[in-house]
């Protein structure tokens, strides 16, 4: 092996908190060769960010300190350099880009001045030359009209554009190493695909090394040469990407891979989630930190921490039972098609009797799903939308002309009883608005909503209030949607108070029942939301939604804010509940795989319009609308061939001024004059398959 560019050895980082000194990262080691992409993966809180910040000693500013180990860049020992010397490296030899591009720029300075100031920090020269350099950099990362963008402030650019600008700024010092901390997590899949492509292109043209941090194994699969898996501040496993993903040796890696719904996992099948949630810094378990969640755990695991040991083939893993785990995977793989890129693998050791409960659960995890096709024709649909429109008046302030933002612009839709309808589309396409309109949580501008054939309207107060009993919602944000001052018992009982006449004791009983139903301890009803993790809070939200036995549930990005392993748990829970309670639901998500996994039928939205609906499998197998196809090909981790089939450029236009004709024509590689001028009808192109395209793909 060549001399690595960066070598991190036994790095331990302490953070100083009001509650004392905690160790956020313990003895992690990895290295990056020139021109190599290394991915740091792991769930939230596993120490990815802090480890990457330590490389530039940025932890010093955030109550962190390097308590042990070494960081060597080329032949500079960074861990012992004085800050002034580290500053010379920052931005020049090592640059960094961040997750939320909007938050990573100073909001009050122009993009240009922020780029110029970066160059000025390391080079002497005329400001005007630097400015020109900045323009070139913006052009280099694919920003249209760079001269104009230089003069704009961050608030005037879209997220994707800002991330490009951030990359441009990072490139300005000509760094050898680019650290990218979840650079695409906040972006849409289509934009994510563009950014990842850009990074790959830059890496090969500039021979940069990249340390990419992500929790998305799909991204890692697509980008990484090597992968380092972190769990609770320790390295669980590392090795070449294909090997780690293809034949994981650490039970945690296996669990992660199982947790994600992939394109070819069986629809409706339970995801094999890792039970429990990652430990907090203050409550690290003894021994192997993964043991409480590990099916392979033995007393040895509970007592002593496994060292990161050589597993051959350039691979390292920290597990006493790596061989057993690998064997299980290998056994499973032989039964599966090798073409799979990311594949779920069994997580249960063959040795029976270790965890009877877990293994039992896993083996019966395939639910008896009714036939894919829910019959829509015969009976009255549960919920129907007819030509729904929602226009928000913008800039209605003094002295400025009012404009309409067409959030939803003529959507007709019907959802049959028992059906799960998935809704996908880029951010801003109007999914949430449509959801709110279906539930009549706000008045529509046009069209109407029918519930069991009756018109439902927010204006008819009494009927509306009664209807809340049947129509419920699970919110995206598990933190913001529970009142922090209410105990969870009160939170869950809130709908009971509104819709039932239960007395105190009955309510209490019902709450206990619900808590158990969503997998929480029934005795916790007196606790407050802040005592719960995100996943647990989402369970509380679910319990509240099902408290009065609704007929219909809207789940708006109900799992998007959660960690992969927890996400899998919640998806499972939702599926279980749907089965048990016979719920009809609309499931909004931006993770296409999850939607596919859970829905019978999927609708694709673009700029306020439904562009395609089809049964799940059908949609994924034969997407008819170019936009659908583009979305599908943007999914990271897809084989490269699939990805290249269609890729959309640019970003979603403003809904205040949607393009004429087919709204997608501005980004559609197949657009014709017809598309530009005539809006295509939303027409059936197969059984239960409709699309709004002049040239539907077959």
């Amino acid at each position: 092996m060549t001399q690595p560019l960066l070598e991190v050895k036994d790095l331990t980082i302490d953070v100083h908190t009001p509650r004392g000194i905690l160790t956020a990262v313990s003895e992690i080691s990895f290295d990056i060769a020139p021109g190599e992409t290394v991915c740091l993966v792991g769930e939230s809180g596993s120490g990815k960010t802090i480890a990457s910040k330590a490389i530039m000693r940025l932890t010093d500013y955030e109550n962190g300190s390097i308590a042990g180990g070494s960081i060597t860049l080329g032949d500079t020992a960074i861990e012992s350099l004085p800050q002034s010397a580290v500053r010379q490296l920052r931005g020049r030899r090592v640059a960094m880009i961040f997750q939320e591009p909007m938050a990573a720029f100073d909001p009050v300075f122009t993009i240009g001045s922020q780029i110029v100031e970066t160059i000025q920090a390391h080079r002497r020269g005329k400001k005007s030359t630097f400015w020109k350099e900045g323009v070139e950099l913006l052009r280099r990362v694919g920003i249209p009209e760079p001269e104009l963008r230089m003069k704009q402030v961050p608030g005037e650019l879209s997220g994707g554009m800002l991330q490009r600008a951030m990359i441009a700024m990072a490139l300005s010092g000509g760094p050898e190493l680019l650290i990218a901390d979840e650079p695409t997590t906040a972006l849409d899949v289509t934009i994510q695909a563009q950014i990842l492509e850009l990074l790959n292109e830059l890496k090969s043209s500039l021979n940069m090394s990249i340390l990419l941090i992500t929790h998305d194994l799909g991204v890692a699969a697509q980008m990484a040469d090597r992968i380092v898996v972190l769990y609770a501040g320790r390295v669980a496993e590392q090795g070449p990407a294909a090997d780690v993903l293809g034949s994981p040796r650490h039970p945690y890696t296996i669990g992660l891979l199982n947790s994600i719904a992939t394109l070819d996992s069986k629809r409706g099948e339970r995801l094999r989630a890792i039970e429990g949630s990652p430990p907090g810094l203050a409550e690290m378990p003894e021994g192997c930190r993964f043991h409480p969640r590990c099916a392979f755990a033995t007393d040895k695991c509970r007592e002593s921490a496994p060292p990161l040991s050589d597993q051959g083939n350039n691979r390292l893993a920290a597990c006493w039972h790596a061989d057993e785990a690998a064997a299980v995977v290998a056994a499973a793989h032989t039964e599966l098609t090798p073409a799979r890129h990311l594949s779920p693998v069994p997580d249960t050791p063959p040795a029976a009797g270790v965890h009877p409960a877990t293994s039992l659960q896993s083996t019966v995890s395939i639910l008896e799903v009714a036939d894919d096709q829910v019959d829509v024709s015969g009976s009255i649909p549960l919920l129907q939308a007819e030509g729904l429109k929602k226009h928000y008046a913008l800039g209605g302030g003094r002295g400025r002309a009012k404009r309409n933002l067409r959030a939803v612009d003529g959507v007709s839709l019907s959802i049959a009883e028992g059906e799960t309808f998935g809704l996908v589309g880029e951010s801003g396409s109007g999914k949430s608005t449509l959801g709110r309109l279906l539930l009549q949580l706000e008045p529509q501008t046009g069209g109407r909503v029918l519930y069991r054939g009756d018109e439902l309207s927010i204006k008819d107060k009494n009927h509306w209030r009664e209807s809340r009993r049947d129509l419920q919602i699970i919110h995206q944000d598990p933190y913001g949607t529970v009142d922090p001052r209410w105990s969870i018992g009160e939170i869950i009982a809130e709908p009971l108070g509104v819709h039932t006449k239960l007395n105190q004791a009955q309510r209490r009983e019902r709450v206990s029942e619900l808590l158990e139903q969503v997998g929480l301890n029934a005795s916790w009803h007196n606790r407050y939301p802040h005592e719960f993790s995100g996943g647990q809070r989402q369970r509380i939200g679910i319990a509240r939604a099902i408290a009065v036995n609704p007929k219909f549930i809207l789940a708006d990005e109900a799992v998007s804010a959660l960690d992969v392993s927890v996400q899998a748990q919640i998806v499972n829970l939702l599926q279980d509940l749907q089965q048990q309670l016979g719920l009809t639901s609309v499931f909004i998500a931006h993770g296409l795989q999850v939607v596919r996994h859970i829905s019978n039928r999927i609708g694709v939205m673009y700029l306020g319009k439904l562009v395609e609906t089809a049964p799940s499998e059908e949609l994924f197998r034969r997407p008819a609308h170019p936009y659908t196809r583009a979305l599908l090909s943007s999914i990271p981790g897809m084989s490269p061939e699939a990805r290249e089939s269609i890729s959309v450029q640019g970003e979603i236009p403003s809904p205040t001024n949607p393009p004429s004709g087919c709204r997608f024509h501005t980004r559609c590689p197949m657009a014709t004059d017809l598309c530009r001028n005539v809006e295509p009808a939303f027409a059936a192109i197969g059984a239960q398959h409709e699309a709004a395209c002049h040239y539907p793909l077959q």
């Binding site: 920052r90 009050v108 951030m166």
Partner: protein, 311 residues
């Protein structure tokens, strides 16, 4: 844009008219009348008093007086003082510069001291400097101004003989009162600036700036302070308003000219025209301060400046 300015002017006007009407009503409802405080009641006979009332138009009914007042005002006539019988407008205008000067100087003290201490204390959070700066700030907001004013006089005028104790002519006479008054505002500003500096220091973009290799000082002053000033500007505006009101006491202590003192005297003498004149003036200053605050937002924060142009 023009429409925006127009409606803003309109609402300001509304506030000014509202305050004048309020003052008028309060005075109307007050027991007693100014005439009694204009003469020595032990020696002056009731007819004289009646006569004075007649002369001053105090006998007319409420609506007539109100209409007459606003009518006169439209023509630029603010009436005459009941006590000295001189025209109100020149009387007030004569005093305004001194009060404005004091307010401005105090604001300067408050902003310079407050922002400096706030920044120091935020960037040295947890250290001795932080502690000292905060305590200094707290003392600012916990000492009555007349007390700190007298202390300043005793120390700097009587003992050290460095600065004059009174008067409103020249720069030297401005120093002590501006210190006494500005110190109070500084106290609040320290807290605000410190708090919002700390908030901004927690913002992710600060990490970006560090990752770019910028000097810490540059980050703190150019980026963090500028962002931290955005919420602080409102408070500073309000503080300036409070300082304007605080001149009532400080002008008395330091025996300065100014509308604060006139106001106090005029209220005691129930000299309505003068009080109204002053309220009119303070209302304009408040409106002006609000305007300044908004302008400084725009100066600090381009997001506001460009809002009109954005989609």
């Amino acid at each position: 844009m023009i429409q925006a300015i127009g409606s803003r002017l309109f609402s300001s006007l509304l506030v000014i008219v509202g305050s004048l009407a309020l003052v008028f009503c309060i005075f109307y409802l007050l027991p007693g009348d100014p005439v009694l405080s204009m003469v020595d009641p032990t020696t002056v006979s009731p007819e004289v008093v009646e006569n004075l009332r007649e002369q001053l138009g105090l006998n007319r009914p409420f609506h007539e007086r109100l209409l007459a007042y606003f009518g006169d005002m439209l023509t630029g006539d603010f009436g005459r003082s009941l006590v000295g019988s001189e025209p109100v407008l020149p009387k007030i205008l004569h005093q305004v510069p001194s009060t404005l000067l004091l307010t401005a100087a105090s604001a300067l003290v408050a902003i310079v001291v407050g922002v400096t201490l706030g920044v120091l204390s935020a960037v040295r959070k947890g250290g001795i400097i932080d502690l000292l700066a905060r305590i200094v700030g707290l003392f600012g907001i916990s000492m009555p101004t007349f007390w700190s004013g007298i202390l300043l006089i005793l120390i700097f005028s009587v003992q050290l003989k460095w600065l004059p104790a009174m008067g409103s002519d020249g720069f030297e006479t401005l120093i002590l009162p501006a210190l006494a008054l500005g110190f109070v505002g500084a106290g609040s500003i320290v807290r605000m600036v410190r708090g919002s500096m700390l908030d901004v220091l927690n913002e992710p973009f600060v990490t970006t700036l560090r990752a770019k290799g910028l000097r810490e000082r540059l980050i703190q002053i150019k980026h963090v302070l500028r962002n931290a000033l955005i919420p602080a500007v409102t408070l500073i505006g309000m503080q300036i308003g409070d300082m304007l009101a605080g001149t009532v006491i400080i002008e008395t202590v330091f025996s300065r000219q100014g509308i604060g003192r006139i106001l106090a005297d005029a209220i005691m003498a129930k000299d309505l025209p003068v009080v109204q004149g002053i309220v009119f003036f303070t209302a304009i200053v408040y409106v002006g301060i609000n305007l300044l605050v908004d302008l400084s937002y725009a100066a600090i924060d381009p997001r506001i400046r460009r809002k009109g142009a954005r989609t």
